[in-house]
């Protein structure tokens, strides 16, 4: 047997295959949806909402550059810096996120607006703007990170604090709470949901459903403030929310790009086809509920109010309501970069106008 001297050293043993990074349908990794490091208190409910947003946008495969993140002021309003770091954002003034969001989507109707607000930001100083945005059906996912207090100014009651809930210092709130979901339904909001920051699965499904909706999608998310409102006696603490959270249904979501059939027992699930063709599947738990029935949703929330029940789920969806850009009959292209010929009438028009004043 001829011995041969190998000209080259033997090849190294094959390296262990690099762990396959999970990519979404755009081929983007999860890191493309994360933001800068949160500066909120550790354990703050708002951070869980941030994580759910990241996950939902990643799963849905939203192009980050199409997103505009808007917020008011508060701990909650800081969070847009902590998710979707490759999207632009605008941290505006207290209670005025809706106005900024409205202006942005009018300028560029292709943007996917994500508005983040707090319970103080929305239900106190910003109540007017909140209601008018809902009434106009401005296309925007409107997230209220609801902790019943003003976190950033150190724990004062907000307008969503429940009657009888106690502050850390032991003061009892004796005014009735503002229910932003009930308000929104009254004002014609076509997507109204409530969740709890401790229920990641429910939040993610809701965010996806909101992404599939066109118009204002309101998500009121109970999000405990661990520093100022997580004590015994508070109705916005983790313990209270966990003990009292009553899910209305189990939410499943089939995005438009996954055309899969889902089997379910007849009568067990309510299916709603969304604006973009995605399907929301609401599996019945304790009660029959039709989230496309507005009157039923009003009754449901009224009952929950009198029974002091923390109901979570999608209370109302109407995928057909025309959004604000449609109501205004805007051209299909974004207004901001229309060429000059389309925004400056030609000379004969000015001549005609001038003649009218001669």
């Amino acid at each position: 047997m001829a011995t041969t001297t190998p000209a080259q050293p033997p090849p190294p043993p094959p390296a262990a295959p690099a762990p396959q990074k999970k990519m979404n349908r755009l081929g983007l990794p999860l890191e493309h949806y994360t933001g800068s490091v949160s500066t909120l208190c550790s354990g703050c409910g708002h951070d869980s909402i941030t994580n759910a947003v990241i996950r939902a946008f990643f799963d849905y495969g939203i192009e980050p550059h199409r997103v505009a993140k808007l917020s008011g002021i508060g701990c909650s309003s800081k969070t847009p810096a902590y998710f979707l770091g490759r999207s632009c954002g605008f941290n505006a003034v207290h209670g005025r996120m809706p106005a900024i969001a409205t202006g942005a989507v009018l300028a560029n109707r292709n943007l996917i607006a994500v508005g983040v607000s707090g319970d103080g930001d929305t239900a106190s100083i910003g109540l007017g703007q909140f209601m008018h945005m809902v009434r106009r059906n401005v296309p925007c996912i409107y997230i209220i990170e609801n902790n019943g207090v003003y976190g950033l100014t150190k724990g004062q009651f907000s307008a969503t604090a429940d009657e009888g809930s106690a502050s850390k210092a032991g003061h009892v709130n004796d005014q009735p709470p503002m229910d932003c979901c009930a308000l929104a339904i009254n004002l014609g909001c076509a997507f109204v949901a409530r969740s709890f920051s401790g229920d990641a699965k429910q939040m993610q499904a809701m965010f996806k459903a909101a992404l599939a909706h066109r118009g204002t999608a309101l998500l009121d998310i109970v999000s405990p403030c661990v520093t100022f409102n997580n004590h015994e006696g508070s109705t916005k603490s983790y313990k209270y929310a966990k003990d009292n959270d009553v899910p209305l249904h189990e939410i499943g979501f089939v995005p438009f790009f996954e055309n899969i059939a889902v089997d379910y027992e007849p009568g067990s699930t309510k299916e709603v086809t969304m604006h973009d063709g995605s399907r929301v599947l609401l599996r019945k738990l304790d009660r029959d509920y039709d989230p496309t029935n507005r009157l039923a949703s009003i009754q449901l929330l009224e009952e929950a109010r009198t029974q002091k029940e923390l109901l979570t789920g999608i209370f109302y969806i109407n995928p057909k309501a025309p959004d604000f850009t449609e109501q205004l009959h805007l051209v299909a292209e974004p207004l901001y970069d229309l060429p000059v010929e389309r925004v400056r009438p030609p000379k004969p028009v000015l001549d005609e106008i001038m003649k009218g004043y001669m």
Binding site: R66, A99, L106, A107, N110, L330, A332, V340, M358
Partner: protein, 626 residues
């Protein structure tokens, strides 16, 4: 008529002889608000304009929809003066509520055309009177009681037409303008005018010297309100988002824009529009939407008045620190919110210039004419995008809501200037982007717009807590750098806002500075002063921040007068802040009655201060160094 409380001796000369006074007088008509008199007055105004004679019209109206007294003044001036005059030679008294006080206030020798069907108790024997039974005449002219009130007003047009020698054919043309193609309305009103003419012909003997005679000074001129002019400017300036909350005297600016856009900003094929106009829930929202839209790259605007400006304060500060563009038209009126919303003032100058908290300052464009309102509206959009700032266009009620004669507006020649916006291709080429870095040394950074797909494009916008890379920071040096860059940006704007207009006079020791609508009375006052042997030089401010010509002008003239329509010398404060070395040099001429400024007021105040003594009501502002 409301009498000015400012000290000016009445300078009316009652014509003693029958020597005719041609094309040089004013007519004032007293009616009740909502009685339809606006159409009659417009018809008079237009008829005279169409005869080639320079005219202007000023409406002094109440904050009320129906019933309160209104005075409309038409000035006929062969020399082309269009400021208000203190005295009107011809008075038409149609309002029972004010007839006695109106007649009491008339100057001896004035002409009084009055409705003799009204209850009048004041007697005068020093006026030239024409009693006319207008109620009776309107019964005869119009059998329909619903229309009779409107017709009454056209009957007085007929009487005035006859007495002044206005050509009836021009009234017909003016009516067609006024009522567009509504033939029934045109016929009804023309008949009423003719009825008035006939009656006057048969029953009145001309005793006064005032007449109009055809001239050729208005050929091709337009007659337009400043708010409409600004709206046309916004249309031509390519506005794409307009948000507003109704408030007098700014509403008609946006309402005009709505009408224009319905016609001229609609895609002929799809019927879709290229502009979003939103009536917001309040001014907090309207400015928020303007800034959201400006941030996202639209040419965005709002129009408001002082109360709205107050509400916009917080948001405008954010825009300052975050370099967000937007245009605010401020049609100024007197303060406060429950005050005299229908009276004019230059009362927001200081507020607008420094609106908000922290160190903030904003550029202002200050038009004096309808043509400038048109031009500056366009310039404001360019400037806002060029310097990434809120830009104020400071009109006032006088300019915005009164009719002004003007050359037709020229079609814009410049392309839209969209400022320093980086596209995806730009970023590919540059390979680098820092939102707030002063790359060009002018304090104006580059920006990207939301939706730009380049990975370098997105940035996070927040107030003052950001560094050059738009990252969050609370470092003292970062804050200071930001403040210094913004200050530098403001310096850059000195030569970007409209330059002042200077009329030098090498013989003049007196310099006059004025701005906005004070211009028209100032022009006339300078002519009067010149005739009295007092030459003056004139600088009209048209923008803030000031450029170097302003300091030169102040420096050059030993005595310097500053004409303003506010009590506290708001422009004087801005000038003094900017040029403290001249702070004691300004001699104030300040008019603040809610009425528009007149030349006599300027002349009297200036002459009094020249004598070194009497400063009128302005003296209690304390001594100003001379």
């Amino acid at each position: 008529m409301p009498v000015d409380t400012m000290p000016t001796p009445a300078a009316a000369k009652a014509p003693s002889s029958g020597k005719p006074v041609i094309n040089d007088f004013s007519i004032q008509v007293a009616t009740a608000n909502g009685s339809g008199s606006q159409s009659s007055n417009n018809v008079l105004l237009r008829s005279i304009l169409q005869m080639g004679i320079p005219v202007s019209g000023k409406n002094l109206f109440p904050s009320n929809i129906q019933g309160l007294p209104t005075w409309f003044t038409i000035r006929v001036s062969k020399d082309g003066y269009i400021a208000r005059r203190k005295v009107s030679e011809i008075f038409v008294a149609m309002n029972e509520e004010t007839i006695d006080s109106d007649i009491t206030d008339l100057t001896p020798g004035n002409v009084l055309i009055w409705n003799s069907d009204l209850r009048r108790t004041v007697k005068r024997d020093d006026l030239i009177e024409y009693p006319v039974p207008f109620n009776k005449l309107s019964w005869e002219a119009c059998p329909d009681p619903k229309l009779r009130k409107l017709v009454t007003n056209m009957v007085y047009v007929g009487v005035v037409v006859h007495l002044l020698g206005i050509e009836i054919a021009e009234c017909e043309t003016a009516l067609k303008k006024q009522f567009k193609s509504k033939q029934k309305a045109i016929d009804l009103n023309l008949n009423a005018i003719k009825f008035g003419v006939d009656w006057a012909q048969k029953n009145l003997v001309k005793k006064d010297p005032y007449r109009v005679e055809r001239m050729n000074k208005t050929a091709g001129q337009i007659l337009i309100e400043g708010n409409t002019a600004a709206a046309i400017g916004a249309l031509m300036g390519g506005v794409t988002v307009c948000t507003w909350y109704p408030i007098t005297p700014s509403s008609s600016l946006v309402e005009s824009l709505i009408d224009l856009c319905r016609k001229y900003r609609k895609d002929p094929v799809t019927g879709k529009t290229t502009v979003a106009i939103v009536q917001a829930e309040d001014e907090l929202a309207s400015i928020g939407m303007v800034l959201g839209a400006g941030w996202a790259g639209a040419r965005s605007m709002t129009a408001t008045a002082g109360p709205g400006i107050s509400l916009m304060s917080e948001f405008v500060g954010l825009a300052y620190f975050a370099d967000v563009p937007g245009v605010i038209f401020d049609v100024q009126r007197v303060g406060p919110s429950t005050g005299l919303p229908t009276r004019t003032s230059q009362g927001d100058i200081l507020k607008a210039a420094t609106l908000s908290h922290g160190d903030t300052k904003h550029p202002m464009l200050i038009p004096a004419s309808v043509q400038e309102a048109y031009q500056f509206a366009q310039d404001a959009f360019d400037l806002a995008e060029q310097v990434q700032s809120v830009v104020f266009v400071m009109l006032d009620l006088d300019l915005g809501m009164n009719f002004w004669m003007s050359d037709p507006f020229p079609y814009p020649t410049k392309p839209l200037n969209r400022g320093k916006v980086l596209t995806k291709d730009d970023l590919d080429r540059l390979g680098k982007f820092e939102r707030y870095r002063d790359v060009d040394g002018d304090g104006i950074p580059y920006r990207t717009l939301p939706g730009n797909p380049h990975p370098l494009a997105p940035y996070f916008t927040r107030g003052s807590g950001h560094n050059e890379k738009a990252q969050y920071t609370e470092r003292p040096s970062d804050y200071r750098n930001l403040m210094n860059r913004l200050a530098k940006k403001f310096e850059t704007m000195r030569d970007m806002v409209p330059a002042p207009v200077i009329e030098a006079d090498p013989k003049a020791e007196i310099g006059i500075i004025a701005y906005g609508t004070s211009h028209w009375a100032t022009v006339e006052a300078r002519d009067q002063l010149r005739a009295q042997g007092v030459p003056t030089a004139y600088l009209r401010l048209r923008g803030y921040p000031f450029n170097s010509q302003v300091a030169e002008f102040i420096d050059k003239h030993p005595r310097l007068y500053l004409v303003e329509q506010n009590r506290d010398g708001q422009m004087q404060s801005l000038l003094s802040l900017d040029m403290p070395q001249y702070a004691t040099k300004f001699r104030p001429i300040r008019h603040y009655t809610g009425n528009t400024l007149d030349a006599a007021f300027i002349v009297e105040n200036l002459r009094a201060q020249e004598k070194g003594g009497h400063l009128g009501e302005t003296q209690w502002f304390g001594p100003r160094g001379h």
